[in-house]
Symmetry: C2
Subunit: 677 residues, 2 copies
């Protein structure tokens, strides 16, 4: 149907090839560093080689043209076909581990395998983990293997139609029937329908239902219950179960999120998870000892979110950078040739700071993983001191990384002009998948308010001369300064400036909060009225942490393990990030620190110079993330840079292009044209 | 299939009802003001009454579950059914006008009728307009009625796969064959394929092709040619025509954007539009006299973009505000009840400034329309002085309104938490439709650079004592100040501060540009290297204009036509906008203006107070935009506020929920579960 056939060249676009030749560092060294070890890089590549082999033609795009229902069914097929491959690779490459199976389902590789996501993620992560983490040994023995082997598929049903972040407000109810030794579960009203659990729609046949426990009419708090939903052979909903999917969303088209209503659904007593709280046969309730273990799970999940968002941001940056090295547009000299758009300074500003942001969060996540491992060790030895700090920092990282990462992906999409609007660029899909993290695992503003409250509480201790834990240690040196010293343009100076600003933002939030309380407002009212300042202080607390960590990771002892060439480009990235962070937060910084016009001009110049310096390394640096073409799944971002042939090829794959005339021509268009409207 | 049936109450949610009762102004007066006359409001309501009556059940949502192809066909049906209704209403309500037909196709009402957009927009706007504006009287007589009556459907084919904003770079070629008296059109390579024209895929049977004209091998510039694409009876592509759709995009699912390749396609000489440039039978070429008329069309189009983006932003704000008045979450007092989330101060900050932004652009657009009408009058009298200014201002408005509007829609979506992620909230769809305007009609950064270049050119004149036109008149008073006077917190002070800042940003951009030229860089290089500063100065030039216009429209003579109550709430909105604009641009302002800590605290307090003051009017204010439920098309934003029943109803409409078990259960899921993975 076209003049042009088999159009994708097997050669690399010469502009891209030229960029790669000009790089000042070894891409393979960067790839090892980015993957955190040569071993991990090797495993990743081997897994990719196997799972991405022999995929059907149009694997990454065809689903976009399907109906919602067909798309779901195609995703089930994809995940069912990938599961045994991943499991076999796990056994072969890292027996006993979980990084490939089930880890591969929620990972960079998973993004490539399941571009519309898939309905097993909640099962393999939350359902399995909650059983293993919150079940008694008997429960773990019974349910764990069934779930891990996918003999049963579960989901985690906590959020309700009208109840989200505030878990205490959920209304689903489990009454213990002492006579029968069973729990009776009910959804008291429409607002209490479970809503959002992944895979709940038409995939899971079990759910971990979070409900308010009642024994003899007395409330015993929120507990978790394993509830069978569907018949194991027919998959039909069991009696009393009203289950279905909630419908289409902005992204994650195949996660199959569902709703669940329960009407007098009975389950055995043994189906309540009882590692902590317990109900015995006679209805005696034993409360849970306050458990800090949950904190650790939350920290873990948030670190994972940071990793995933970082991958998506850097994936988008790779796509946009490669595109910008191939696309030519708008002469720089009035009648000159059209340059690669990466040579427009305004374009560099759209691309490179996003790369720097991705690396900053990559480094922050690395630090947090190290801290996490240490904290798990400590916890096993009964030491929990580090937990509250880690919790606050992981919240801050989750908020900042999802906010910056999603905004960055969208800026990168816009940087590719019209072509980024096409679904085959995959940038809108990446955004849709990433931006859900703004809301899940604690809505970002709610988390910022929590951090803000931790900050003012800590500030109160600090002003009373009580010790504060290490992540607030910057309060003291900041407050010991009468005023911020002369700007010396060093990285340390930038970090100190952010810490000084964060300190004073906390101080002001505390003062305003105190004033309001002194004026008669309740603690709650005063905190609400100080909300804007609390969230802003929280944000800066996070930003100083990210900057400080980034400086330490790049300039600290780890630098000795890297080549001079790699350190140089990483320092270039660090410089971009720090200068950009200062410029983006000037409105707060200038409130407390007196930067001269000279200082400000020099910051602007440093920004421009760091962009200029990064220019020859940009394409190669993105290569170092080692994103497989299947993972990027983008006609604009493939390694070969054949953007136009690939765009055209993608167009030809549209189902509509398989025929010349659509059926609505005879039924509606032609009648309209003949009607002499 | 559910415990709950026919669930949407016919009553209004009591929380919303309470909000409406508490408003301090007359909603109907606001509606008249917002629609710009009682007559327009009445017409709008009558059109809505007719076109939204008797739509099929699920009209606004069903298309989301269709395949790409079915969705297209359903949209053709929708537009073919709406066209005669709109045309009849035009005749009845405003004969001779164009506001209902074809205006209704691209309007607020169009958003409601065609939630996935439709493939006739480019036809009724650009194809028809270009014929009428660029054709000879004979051409207008021949083609105009055919196009206006939809006897032929056309599109406007300018952009190519590799050539966008820089029109001079397009490669499609039209060679005049003197012997035959015909043009021969060709697409020389893949990169020159036409790409993006709306309706080109499978709808249009004609295209206005923009191509490089050659006569006897000599280049005669870019011209426009009417090219038949498809057979009028069979709709099959004509010989030499390679046409199809480009595929799915982020938004505008049914615009049916297409590609077009031409191979020796011959058209009569009379098919080149010849109002300006001409080719006679013997191949003699007459160049166009430089036409300023194009400028006016561009200004008109950009004003229209501002209007459409404003509608989308305020539509999103209405949805999020109503939702926030019904949704309850997170106690303010530790063990208190869950409040309407609109009572969280951080939530107000997410909602109300977006409303203020929408009104600011609504007012700026109004001013621009008035200026436009005046300029058309002047142009008819041969006076063109105002055109360059208007061009720059309309560019700035387009850039700012699309940037702020799209970011605002997404912030509003995020403010509704998880439910905003659902397609039935319609917020993601609004974003997808709005954000295309970031790129079309001049990519935003390209436009900012144009504005920036106009600014430094004007600055050069200004410093040489030459007069500058009125939209740069603020340079002079700003530069006459030794330093900015003491902050007095008035609206005038805020406007002057923005003008002072814009002036100095322009000055610095000019200085840096000059320095670079002095250092030996070419004009082009220097402008590129000053790109970041040029765009930032351009942005501030736009912002001072929006603020100044807003103050004038609200506090000027027009205020006397409004009631005191309405003026009061409009002043509240103005206050929010100005304070927010200062706070958002503090990093630039503080560079030039020395605000004390006291000033900054008072600005923060003003923000909080203005949010507080607007709180009781928020719901009613949104009611005053008079958005029909069909236009909002949102389960979260309907007038009755029944958010949960509507969410549930939307879920039940998913095609997947029409059966309990999906076919992939037997084919893939059950085998996986039985496989003992």
């Amino acid at each position: 149907m076209s003049h042009i056939k088999n159009i994708i060249p097997t050669t690399v676009n010469p502009d891209l090839q030229k960029e790669r030749s000009a790089a000042t560092f070894d891409v393979e060294e960067l790839a090892v560093w980015f993957q955190r070890s040569a071993e991990k890089l090797k495993t990743k590549r081997e897994v990719e080689r196997v799972v991405f082999a022999n995929l059907e033609d149009g694997y990454g795009l065809n689903h976009e043209y399907m109906s919602h229902e067909d798309l779901y069914n195609s995703s089930v097929k994809k995940v069912a076909e990938a599961a045994p491959k991943l499991k076999a690779l796990q056994k072969k490459l890292n027996p006993g581990g979980k990084d490939i199976w089930p880890g591969g389902l929620i990972s960079e590789i998973g993004n490539g395998l399941f571009p519309a996501n898939h309905p097993l993620a909640t099962h393999t992560s939350m359902f399995v983990d909650v059983i293993n983490g919150q079940g008694t040994p008997e429960q773990v023995a019974k349910w764990g293997p069934l779930a891990e082997n996918c003999n049963i598929i579960g989901t985690y049903a906590q959020t309700e139609l009208a109840h989200g972040t505030n878990v205490r407000g959920i209304e689903t109810r489990a009454d213990y029937d002492i006579r029968a030794g069973e729990f009776v579960l009910n959804t008291p009203n429409l607002e209490a329908y479970k809503w959002w659990p992944g895979g709940l729609g038409h995939t899971a046949n079990h759910a971990m239902v979070v409900a308010q426990l009642y024994i003899s009419g007395k409330h015993k708090g929120v507990q978790m219950f394993i509830v069978p939903l569907r018949h194991p052979e027919t998959h039909l909903p069991l009696p009393g179960i009203d289950v279905g999917e909630i419908g289409k969303k902005l992204g994650m088209a195949s996660v199959n999120q569902g709703f669940l209503g329960l009407k007098n659904v009975r389950i055995p007593r043994e189906n309540m998870l009882m590692k902590f709280a317990k109900v015995d046969r006679d209805g005696k309730f034993t409360a849970s000892p306050v458990s800090r273990v949950n904190y650790l799970t939350m920290v873990y999940t948030r670190c994972l979110i940071v990793e995933l968002n970082t991958q998506l941001l850097l994936g988008a940056a790779t796509i946009a950078t490669r595109y910008s090295a191939v696309r030519r547009q708008s002469p720089i000299e009035p009648n000159g040739p059209e340059p690669q758009i990466i040579d427009h300074v305004t374009q560099r500003l759209k691309l490179f700071p996003e790369i720097a942001t991705g690396i900053a969060y990559h480094q922050a996540a690395e630090y947090m993983w190290e801290l996490y491992d240490q904290t798990v060790l400590d916890a096993n030895n009964g030491k929990f001191e580090r937990l509250p700090d880690m919790h606050v920092l992981s919240c801050a990282l989750k908020v900042l990384c999802s906010t910056d990462g999603c905004a960055g992906i969208e800026r990168l999409r816009l940087s590719t002009g019209g072509h980024g609007y096409h679904i085959a660029a995959n940038l809108s899909n990446m955004y849709g998948n990433a931006v859900a993290s703004y809301t899940y695992e604690g809505e970002n503003t709610v988390l910022l308010l929590q951090i803000g409250r931790a900050l003012v509480k800590t500030w109160n201790n600090f002003t009373q001369g009580k010790g504060v834990s290490s992540s607030y240690a910057y309060f003291e040196p900041s407050m010991s300064l009468k005023e911020f010293p002369k700007w010396d343009n060093s990285w340390q100076c930038i970090v100190k400036a952010l810490q000084y600003t964060a300190t004073h933002k906390t101080r002001i939030a505390f003062e305003n909060l105190s004033e309001r309380i002194a004026a008669g407002q309740s603690q709650g009212q005063a905190a609400n009225n100080t909300g804007i300042e609390l969230t802003r202080a929280a944000e800066l607390h996070g930003r100083q942490f990210v900057c400080q960590t980034f400086v330490e990771q790049i300039t600290g002892p780890k630098a000795q393990k890297r080549s001079k060439a790699l350190n140089e480009v990483l320092e270039n990235v660090l410089e971009m990030f720090l200068v950009q962070t200062v410029l983006n937060n000037l409105s707060d910084i200038l409130r407390f620190i007196n930067l001269t016009d000279e200082d400000l001009r020099s910051l602007q110049k440093r920004l421009e110079q760091s962009l200029e310096k990064f220019r020859p390394n940009a394409v190669a640096f993105c290569d170092g993330f080692d994103f497989h073409d299947r993972v990027l799944n983008s006609v604009l971002g493939s390694y070969d840079g054949n953007i136009y042939p690939r765009l055209f090829d993608a167009a030809k794959r549209s189902t509509m292009n398989q025929k010349h005339v659509q059926k609505s021509f005879e039924t509606h268009l032609k009648p309209l044209m003949k009607s002499n409207l």
